[in-house]
Subunit: 345 residues, 2 copies
Amino acid sequence: MANGTLTIDLDALVQNWRALDAMTAGETAATVKADGYGLGIGPVARALARAGARSFFVATAEEGAELRQVLGPGPAINIYSGHMPGDADMIRDLSLVPMINSIDQLQRHLEALPQAPFGFQLDSGMNRLGMEPAEWAALREIDLGREPTLIMSHLACSDDPGAAMNAAQRRVFEEMTAGTGAPRSLAATGGILLGPDYHYDLTRPGIGLYGGLPFSEALPVAYLELPVIQVRDVEPGESVGYGMGYVARQPRRIATLAAGYADGVIRLLSGKAQVYFGQRACPLVGRVSMDMIGVDISHLSDTPASLTLLGRQQGVDVLAEQAQTIGYEILTALGRRYNRRYSGG
Amino acid sequence: MANGTLTIDLDALVQNWRALDAMTAGETAATVKADGYGLGIGPVARALARAGARSFFVATAEEGAELRQVLGPGPAINIYSGHMPGDADMIRDLSLVPMINSIDQLQRHLEALPQAPFGFQLDSGMNRLGMEPAEWAALREIDLGREPTLIMSHLACSDDPGAAMNAAQRRVFEEMTAGTGAPRSLAATGGILLGPDYHYDLTRPGIGLYGGLPFSEALPVAYLELPVIQVRDVEPGESVGYGMGYVARQPRRIATLAAGYADGVIRLLSGKAQVYFGQRACPLVGRVSMDMIGVDISHLSDTPASLTLLGRQQGVDVLAEQAQTIGYEILTALGRRYNRRYSGG
């Protein structure tokens, strides 16, 4: 077995959801798009539903269809990308709720499924998804007669509490939604942490559930253990890996571990990241290969059977910084070859 | 349907295999690890087998087991990681051939499966996998009596024809294998291009089959089309995406496309990559989100329904350079949410 073991702590996931839920007065939903941020939409969504989540958000109708199979009837399943061409059957048959982003989408929805519920997604300044203020102003009175399940928007800078953009978007959202009477949602994880002004009726945390920043109090959820395939002694002057990316200056003991960039060990981590044997850090040496990495274990007295890439010693945000990205991408990049184990929940 | 469409051109794959096969006198195998470099081990391996490939290489026994289901009995399936703990049943029941990397692995194999075939992987200088010269020298005479199916090693710098390391590894490989009588293999795609001295009895191309460098003559195999969710006009001073990563200086028309870093559009491509409408390039603007990207389409007269990320206009190596990586990682990062279509083969 030359596969790593990815353990997903569903108890930690549920505790993170409860901690975020406790910060707000309204309903706390859960965003489980991108296969539950890479951790498996089935076990993740079931654990959150058992913990009390009644509304879920995914990116596409296809993800919504998969989630409905997982959850059965009952929980609300909302689709951020709205109602795209080809979605009508899934929306109707599986009771999905599209967050309508544009007049085009509204027309598509009303023509195909005049009775099917929907929400509205408004653009309060991120210029990514949602109706623009002018578009919304023209339609608002007509649309509201159709009783949307939710009116939502998304913050562009919620991970930065000092960003003026947050208050600016909230002001636009207020102006666009005041007096509508419909339930409102503006906050994901970052928005929850910005405080009650941002909470409205429903929050929809994502990254915080899975143990990532900006929820610095989050418990880690993903644990990744990589098996050692082989250990060798390397003499001074010898190189390790592709392109001779590392050259030993002293005698070194190098372990080859069974995970590479095809498993989400991002290639930019070459020569930067560390893995752990208990509390002892072991640096990656040489380039990350497709299926393997080299690790310097010269300072260990034991020959480990496996080493830890994600754990209490280091979480997704440590790796993210080394890979010039964010914890979200470390999670969604996690590969398919790992043995996935779910604990708790 | 807010999913991109990933089309895999199996005819191009087969033509790439044939072109590499025509460069050598020996057998041409195929490396299909990491789910066929992200393109789907099932269709990829079946197409190559129909084209005449009789030997395949994967990273792990689990991949070998999957491949055996795909190919049925007959083709040789070789495992680069060798014989790891827990692999014996798969190796025996599915007729996999481990490339033995160490004395530990040899003992494990001979104890569990004394009659099962195996090859040897030697370390000729990459210090990643395989027996060291000294280890091999001690065992060689005993081992050869067991008639390995193959003796192989791997080049660290084969994408750089000028690297002195290539000849150095070949010299070590010669010394380690001369007179053994066993079939030998040193070259993957890069090694094939280095010339006949590197070909030996069997070559095992990977990246070149899938359209990536260093096989510059390769036909592109992966085509990726991303649907437009929404188009909006952005005024000067307005920002697009997370962290206000892009601010418009003139009036711009921005399309939001349904693919993000969770789909393998690596986040480092933010503000660097382009997508295509026919031959017209449209730059990414703002940060790549988990499920979406923003694209400037101001210069287009039409409103496209979709735009091209991978195609004849740009291949995996263009994106790779922009993402500070190699084409291999662009391929293996391709996400699970795309509709995958296979043409030809």
